[in-house]
Symmetry: C2
Subunit: 601 residues, 2 copies
Amino acid sequence: MATKFVSEKNLKFLLYDVFNIESLTQYPYFKQHNRKMFDMVLDAALKIGQDLLRPILEDMDKIPPVLSDGVVKVHKDVRKIMKECGEGGWIAATFPEENGGEQLPITISNCCYFIMAAANYSAYAYPLLTTGAANLIISFGNKDQIKTYLPNMIKGKWQGTMALTEPQAGSSLSDIATSAEPTEEGYYKIKGQKIFISAGDHDGVKNVVHLMLARIDGAPAGVKGISLFVVPKKRPDKKGKLVSNDVTVSQIYHKLGYKGTPIIELSMGEKDDCRGYLIGEPHKGLFYMFQMMNEARVGVGLGAAAVASAAYYASLDYSLSRPQGRKISEKDPSRPQIPIIEHADVKRMLLFQRAVVDGSLSLLLQCSLYADLEKLSDGEEKEKYALLLDILTPIAKSYPSEMGIHSVSQGLQCLGGYGYCEDFPLEQYYRDIRINPIHEGTTGIQGIDLLGRKVMMKNGQAFILFLEEVKKTITGAAAIPELKRYARELFDVLEILVEVTDSLKGVAITKRPEVFLADATLYLELFSIMTIAWQWLLQAIHVQKALEGELSQKETNFYQGKRYVFQYFFAYELSKIEGLARRLKDSNPFTVDMKKEYFSD
Amino acid sequence: MATKFVSEKNLKFLLYDVFNIESLTQYPYFKQHNRKMFDMVLDAALKIGQDLLRPILEDMDKIPPVLSDGVVKVHKDVRKIMKECGEGGWIAATFPEENGGEQLPITISNCCYFIMAAANYSAYAYPLLTTGAANLIISFGNKDQIKTYLPNMIKGKWQGTMALTEPQAGSSLSDIATSAEPTEEGYYKIKGQKIFISAGDHDGVKNVVHLMLARIDGAPAGVKGISLFVVPKKRPDKKGKLVSNDVTVSQIYHKLGYKGTPIIELSMGEKDDCRGYLIGEPHKGLFYMFQMMNEARVGVGLGAAAVASAAYYASLDYSLSRPQGRKISEKDPSRPQIPIIEHADVKRMLLFQRAVVDGSLSLLLQCSLYADLEKLSDGEEKEKYALLLDILTPIAKSYPSEMGIHSVSQGLQCLGGYGYCEDFPLEQYYRDIRINPIHEGTTGIQGIDLLGRKVMMKNGQAFILFLEEVKKTITGAAAIPELKRYARELFDVLEILVEVTDSLKGVAITKRPEVFLADATLYLELFSIMTIAWQWLLQAIHVQKALEGELSQKETNFYQGKRYVFQYFFAYELSKIEGLARRLKDSNPFTVDMKKEYFSD
């Protein structure tokens, strides 16, 4: 029996029932697609997950990449993975046909990434990072750049990366110091150091293409002086032959998890011969990079939800088969033990996991759909979807990451002592997923992004649009007798969110910005719980509809399961809102006032 | 500079100010001690921690024990650690002088264990387990057994273990199947398998003494038929020479963390020559074992708080020295960056850690004090302390374990990407502490123990005594103007706890026991938060007193720090109570009703 790591049924429920993804095929851009093709794509992704990625999950962890003689050696199958993802069209899945892509909806493509990440998160990083980098070249590069880099990247022959972080500039991108000196030949001479670059170099590809932030000599200080360059590991010479571009690997990091993907430190221009090619206009690098970063943030959320999904199915499998103990009301020791899934506390841990996994996935597909709709529409409509995606991105990144950790931890807990041992994959998932609240902007950064920027921007326009979307779902649910009560609950919570937001806006006006943003992480948490509850109510509407129709036993089980998980979320998770709101409405700023000297003993 | 892993100042504040531990020296049993001696003991523990244990923290993790030719090889310093802990009197610290002990208060001895576990949790397990096993022999063994095993155990020459778990009997001890066949020579022939035995065998000692649960042939089924045996790895023959006792190591577990301590699988009686010596009376094994288990549970809590303490100081150190970003109100990129501790969100993460660490430690010392007072008193008084210790043990075990994980995780988060790398100890702490909610009874088991047994036993007597203790603190705090508000808050929460408890008692009467205990883990969480808030209010009383006196700058910093952390706990943690209470008062039992078939897709 194949190891289960995702629910195909659930993916299809979300795609076709909840988000009616078929309707996208009415747009000319997607006219060559239909549901049957989407199903085939999903099947193909499942097959890659099962046959190519999942079998080497433990191997990639046990034999992590090594740096040897300046070369980063990765698992031997990485080459095969990049090749299959290239030839199978996965890297360019969403790209326009004119750029060699499949022109698939982002929503479908993200479902596939979810499947692959659930099979093996580290393996999935290689093609995903390449997609992001290639997409940036398509969006902002010139024709020459597209011609030079794109074909090999989308075929999986060349790796793409995003190279932002430097030793002194992690969360503080305005401190980026890598320099770019203009030359008369049109290229720039790059000098500097980049750290924490995922898949920043490896022997599974023939070349690596870094999308790198650097500062042109004489550029303004801060983020307004950052430009975007393509800096290949090897550059094509005049004859098109690849020659070294003076990019050296100076270190490989030894990490807690996510070990299959090398994270490395790069040094550029040690021989004064590193060439960078400007993308777009000077000093607009951060603006361009944010396209990739926003995609990457949704990608990190997808990855977290995926790892949590795999952990859920591993713990479910164990819980169904491990006999231990008896029902509390039937303690007769002469009777056989029962599978632990019969214990309420184990069921609670499983319900919790599914509430997190399915709730996160729903939000991530919701965001993907907004991304598709933004692409397909114009004017005000386009702006609307862009804003919705903007405000939801910090949540789509951080909720699955933060709650995914708890989810995997509960999965591990289901296995007791065995969960702590390498005999089961839970301990690896537990290590792997701990990266997610860190990379592509920590949770703290996401909180400040949400409250300090997204909620406030354009006079709160994104926030208003978000509230309207939620209210639409509430109205829909209120019309269904079984859901009326939950619609009301969500409405109450929505009001709390509005109150808290208004109260914080007041703080923004009357107090220092430090005080306003001091609890941004808590605000993010409150906002996230509300958002996931919205996604659960949305699912519940479609569950209720389905339960009223004719169903097979298997389908009944699925929808009944959904119903319980939905109820679980409202009872156990949504109830956290009031405690958070209470703190957020209390403007005593002690995390600001606390002096650093007070910590030391 | 030595790496800081505990606050000596805080330990002394708790010992002398909050718990007035000096008053114990008025009892005849402790009359040979005084504060100066206690201080010397603490200093000695700190020295062992710094010089012997902390330096090999990473080494013990990187080079875990291996099983080779039937021998478990551990870090070479384990021998030295056991020797020093033996010769230094640490293993027998609390034992009566007549048994070769130091007759130290448990409270002092637990402080020392806390220090050593903060230095190196895996290293501390070896002597601690030996103490527990030796204590069981003193309490329930006969003179011969004491004479045979005790001297070598307390000198650190022989390792002690507790051997309960079997493949089919983890949380369900009633299913223990290891058999004990009586012989005419007085000993029993032991046959069976034990799994997950910490320090169950290793080459750092000359012998291992297992305190093992087994079932005498013909014993009643279930827990009423379990007896306790001492089963040495090597038994002394008639001439006192050690000969093999047919206990074999069949497996060593490869674990997520806590790697310095081997956890192994044992097989007894493969050659039909494993002898076990009955401790106490037949069929009372579980009752005896519970003494050790309760000590071990407090020990697990102490270990978790200790690891979280070490993680706190590691993340504090980084936060004080790592420059990154600027104040939100002073974004000028030409100005130097500030240490990250200046950011409110980093301060929040540090405050959270200290709230957990100091709050947990306070409760653990409170429990230790009850254990001392139980030992020193008689009759009703003794019963009172025993009951208080009983009801608080599941909390002392699980709160530091569960919240310790979050605490270490926040510590790791302070370091961003570096927290995920092996260059800093955070990732190890994160792996190490994940064992704590599992071993010595999972959190789920602790919840059922608290609600199903401890709160209900003797007509709720333990619960009533606990409420009285908390009310005493509330009354004390209410008399201090600065604390009045917090006293009121705690009182309100106490009322919520009583309401929830009453409501659950109602469920116990009207519904199935499954429903009554379905949310025992949530009840444990609510109870724990309230309990830690009580400990914080207790500390706050003494902080307030201290702040009214003459203080050095360093002392002012300490007490001001405490004041902020106390406020943090009430604002950020205590506010979780109402959400939990709401769920606990809702008796919709969906974690009971949810069918296992509903989980599968």
